[in-house]
Every structure is written in C-alpha cells, then in structure tokens.
C-alpha cells in the first residue's frame, strides 16, 4: 500500500468520486480558485471544472441549504466548511433540516450529503477558531458523524460517506492533514460507518479516542509499552452511530478505561463514552473511567496558555497512570 498524507487521501478520494459519479459535486468557500484553504481540494477545479467544483460566497447557511435541496433532487454534494467554527451560522440547515428530512417525511426523500470540516485546533488559533462541535452533531438523530484518525480511515470513510444516502458530518483535523500512513489502492475499499476499530491491542487499559487524539493515543500506547503497561486503543471513527459493543468488549477485557478528546471537558464526547462504559461494563471496571479533554475556557491566544489548555500526551499518560493505580 502506498504511504500518503491524510490530505492526499482526502484529495484523491474527492477526485475519484468526482470521476466515478457525475452527480457528485464539491461546494465550499475557496475550494476552487484558491485551491482550498488547507489545500484539500487542490487541483480539482482544474481537473473537473466549475460545474463540479463550486466556489461559494460566504453564506454558509445559504449554500449548505442549497446542498441539501440539491441532494433531495439526486445530486451528491460534498460541502467543505472551512473550519467547524463557521458551521454555527449554518447549523439550522444541518440539524433542523438535513437530519430530519428522511425521517419526518416518512422516507420519501433522501439527503445524500457530506459536510467536511476540520474541528479543534492547535497553534494559537484563538477563541473563535479552535473549537470542537462534533459532540453537538453526534447528539442529533438522523445525522451520521465520522472522524477519521488516519489516512486509511480518511479515505475509507470519505468514500463511504459520499456513497451513503444520508447526511454525513465528516470531521477532520488541521493537525492531521500532514500525517502519513498506508492507504489501499483498491477502488472499492471503504471503511464502514458506525464501526469502531481496535487500532492497537492491549491488556491493561483501554484508551478510547477519535481523530487527532487517536494519533496521540497511539504514541502514548507505544511509550507505555516501554514502561510495561499494555494499552489497547479503540478508535471510535464514528461518533454516530456509536459502536458501543466494540468499546464495551475492550473494557470488559482490560477492566480499565481512559477516554480522550480534544473538545471541552463537560458535556463533551468523553462524557458519553464514560457514561456508556459505566452503564454497560460496571462490574468489569477496576477503576472509574478517566476523562481527558480540553480545559474549559474560550481558548486563550497566548502561546503557553493556549498550548496548556488542550489535552496532550502528558495528560493522557497522567490519566492512564491514575486508572492503573
């Protein structure tokens, strides 16, 4: 399998799906002429032309709505929202419309829509440009929410998302774009939506994570191995549907769990995972599930404060040690 970046995996997949299905089109701000704020769509306008790669005005509510309406008539729009912070102006369209249309109208019409957007943020992006809202979407029935951690999953899940007939929120991460990994060349390879993966097996403690934090967890697991602690890493990959059986099976084996996510601590993704584990594996737990997540302030800009506000390998190690006590 060739080794490529996460960015390349996304770019390849978008191109291949554009080629495969004439109803697939890309929409978003700066995805064409500018070639993508984070270069995910680089070269695609040149290759597929302005009908398939559509630069939009700054009107997220409008063009997300347009994408939903177009999907209802059979197009398969893949929308880029520059970062998840900006989806707040379009969230009514996603949650009050896209997520409900199939169900509320008795299954008469489908909304094959993908919304791609990077969440979280490192590097002093400041209070308005570094938030995570995937928990909000994961809360909403009718949506599917995926958040790949590797180039492999990025490709497989994006393909699955584009070929899926429901609205899929596809959560990316700026810090992952340059990471590298194996990606199969097989044209029909997909990663199924709704299925977590044990990315590393272990026996002492289960770490549950997704997206960028899975990369952190994998590094930490390696380090902990040197200290003689065997860490199993469950990568959620999908936040909705949530693959509870895989999480629970792992925790029943290791009897200890740490959940890590980049979002704010209270009411974030880690809350759902911890609550689920205590519910379904209570008798197997040797210690309370530890949660590792972001410090709860609007992210300060100053370098040290900013860096210190986000969960890290350090905080994961701290939590693993705590749960192993």
């Amino acid at each position: 399998m060739p080794i490529i970046t996460y960015r390349q995996a996304l770019n390849d997949t978008l191109g291949e799906e554009l080629k495969r299905d004439p109803n697939v089109l890309l929409m978003g701000e700066e995805i064409g002429v500018f070639q993508g704020s984070y270069r995910i769509t680089e070269g695609l306008l040149q290759e597929y032309g302005p009908k398939r790669v559509v630069d939009t005005p700054i009107a997220e509510e409008g063009f997300v709505g347009v994408a939903i309406g177009a999907a209802m008539l059979g197009l398969r729009p893949v929308v880029e929202i520059m970062t998840i912070n900006f989806i707040l102006v379009a969230i009514d369209q996603v949650v009050n419309h896209a997520s409900k249309i199939h169900y509320m109208f008795g299954g008469q019409v489908r909304v094959p829509l993908v919304i791609r957007t990077p969440s979280g943020g490192t590097g002093q992006l400041g209070a308005t440009h570094s938030q995570s809202f995937e928990n909000w979407f994961a809360y909403c029935p009718g949506l599917k929410v995926v958040a790949p951690a590797t180039p492999y999953d990025a490709k497989g899940l994006l393909r699955a998302a584009i070929r899926d007939d429901d609205p899929v929120m596809f959560i990316e991460s700026l810090a992952l774009y340059d990471t590298k990994g194996d990606v199969p060349e097989d044209d029909d390879f997909v990663v199924p939506i709704g299925v977590a993966e044990v990315k590393r097996t272990g026996t002492d403690v289960t770490v549950i994570s997704y997206s960028r934090m899975t990369a952190v967890a994998m590094q930490v697991a390696q380090r902990m191995a040197n200290e003689g602690i065997s860490v199993e890493v469950v990568d959620l990959r999908s936040l909705r549907p949530l693959d509870r059986p895989t999480i629970i099976a792992s925790v029943k084996k290791t009897n200890r769990a740490v959940v890590i996510a980049e979002d704010w601590y209270s009411y974030g993704v880690t809350a759902e995972i911890a609550a689920t584990i205590q519910e379904e594996a209570f008798d197997y737990l040797d210690a309370p599930v530890q949660r590792v997540a972001g410090i709860e302030t609007p992210l300060p800009y100053a370098k040290d404060l900013s860096a210190a506000s986000k969960p890290s390998a350090h905080s994961l190690i701290y939590a693993i040690r705590k749960v192993m006590e």
């Binding site: 009908k51 709505g65 177009a70 009514d92 369209q93 109208f105 019409v109 299925v195 549907p241």
Partner: protein, 355 residues
Amino acid sequence: MVKEANVVYPSLVDEDANELRHYYYQMLLLRRFEERTGEMYVKAKIGGYCHLNLGEEATIVGLMAALKAEDYIFTNYRDHGYVLARGTPPGPIMAELFGKETGVSGGRGGSMHLFDAERHFMGGYAIVGGQVPLAVGAAYALRYQEKSGVVVAQMGDATTNIGAFYESLNLAKLWKCPVLFFIVNNGYGMGTSVAMGSSEPDLWKKGASFRIHGEQIDGTDVLAVRDACRRLRDYAEREADPVILDMVSFRFRGHSVIDSDRYRNPEFVRKGRQEHDPVRNFATLLHEHAIIDDAWLKATADQVEQEIQQAIDFANASSDPKIEDLYQFMYATEVANTPGPEDALAAVKINRGEV
C-alpha cells in the same frame, strides 16, 4: 421591477369555462378542508401546531394552475392547501394531520411537515426561512442536470426578514437558479405587521439589492395570480433567473388554530374577510358571467363536503404507525449499530410503563 397594476377581467371570453369552474372547486375544497381541519383540531383529532390557509386560496390555486408537473414546491408550515391543490387526495392529507400511517408523511410529519414526492411537493418546513435555501438547491439541481422546470420557494411576508432569505436571493441570482420566491403576503407574521418587520414594506422590492425582479400581485384574484405565475414561471425557466412574487392576501383567522387573534381589530378582520374573500369574489364573478349558477354552486359545495367527509372518514379509519416502526425511517442507508424494531418495542414499553 414593477408593481403590477391590478388587472381587471372585464370579460372572461378567452377563458375555458371548465377551467374556471375547476379553480372555484379547488378554492372551495381548500376553504372547506381548512375549516373542517380547524374543527378536527378542536376535537383533538389533530395535535401540535396547525396553520390554515384561509383567505389564501386564490394564491395557492392560481399558482398551481400555472405550474407544470416537472416543477417543485417547497413551503413553510402553512402547507395544507398547497399539497391539496397540487393534486394529492384529501384523504392522505387529513390522515397526516391525524397522525396516521396512511398520511402523506406516514404520520411522522404532521400538519407542518407534509410531503408528496410523486407530485414534487417537497415538504413543509416549520423553521421560518429554512425552506428557502432548499428550494434554491432544488433549482440548482435542475440546472445541473439540465432539466426543465422551476422551483417555488413559498414563504410568508415576515419570512422576508430572516438572513436565509437574503442569502438565498444572492445565491439564486448568482447561480442562475429558476426560483419563484413566492411570498404570501397576508399582512402579518403572527401579530407583527409588515411595516413593523420590514424596513422595506413593499416586499416585491426586496430583490433590489440582488438585481432580482419582483412584482406585487393581488393574491385574492385567482386569475391574476395564475397569469402572473405563468408569465414569471416561464421567464424564470427560460432565462434561468429567479423572480419575486409578492402575493397580497388577507389572513382570515389567527396565526394558527390556537391563536385568538386578539391583536387585530375585529372590525378590520370582519371587513377584510368580507372584501378580500377570494372564494366568494370568484363565485360572484363567475355568476355574473353566467359561467356558474346556483345549482352548480350547490352541487359543488355538496361534492366538496362529501370529499372532505370521506377524507376525515379515511383518516379516522386509518391505523396509527406501529410502535415497532419507530426507527423505520431513521436512515436511508443502513449502517452498523443502529436500533431496530425490537429496540423500539423495548424502549417504548419502558416509557409507557408496560414492563
């Protein structure tokens, strides 16, 4: 941009008499459907929020007379009349209001969320303005797929104050989408008059910031509506260009069936209902032109009554959606780790205290 002078039809010679009679029949059907719906609501056959089209019959019937089968319609929550005039039988509509499995949305939607895919009636959406970008998207898809047809984005007057409306105007114009922005201007958004809500109360001028042509039309005159809609529909399709139609009509009752309308002067309402009744005015016109007579009116009224009663009977006789089907329409593409019928039964039993 023009404010169209009210067209007067001194003679109906160029009209097909059967068609005129059909318009009247349709308007009466809408009128009586809504009145009976109000009754059914009071009888608690219908729940939730329920908004009637009373006073707006000409707007709806005129629009539908102008549309072609390939056109699509997106509406707000005040949607009963649209799907009815588009040709959906009254039974499944009433059944939806009753929350029955035979309803147009399988009982899942209710009054505000009617849908009929077959007839390109693309739903009622209850978030003010939410339907407007969707309609632009449908028109976008028509253009993308090089199909003919236009898309109607129906909305109320007060909806023209929300951001989604303006973003939609810009995108529709920029992307050459054949959309009729169809504003049912009944003078109020709940208790808020047009002038209280819009700094530009001439709603047909609201395309000015977007280079979109707009017209004001007497929404109580079914022929004026039909003609304007035909002309502008064809324009939008031919030129791939959006237009705004400001359809002035009179809201007969409160905002929804539970609104007692205490903010409108009763005399104002009485007069409005008398002077701007599209159904009665059209009957008078047809009568004057000897296109209908009392016997026909009576027979039509009877027929309408019967049809609606049948719809109510149909709705009453229909079954509720099955509890085990609670998750039925959750996803179009099944994926792992989603609940099914047994989960539905188990969960519902707990909530109902049946375990």
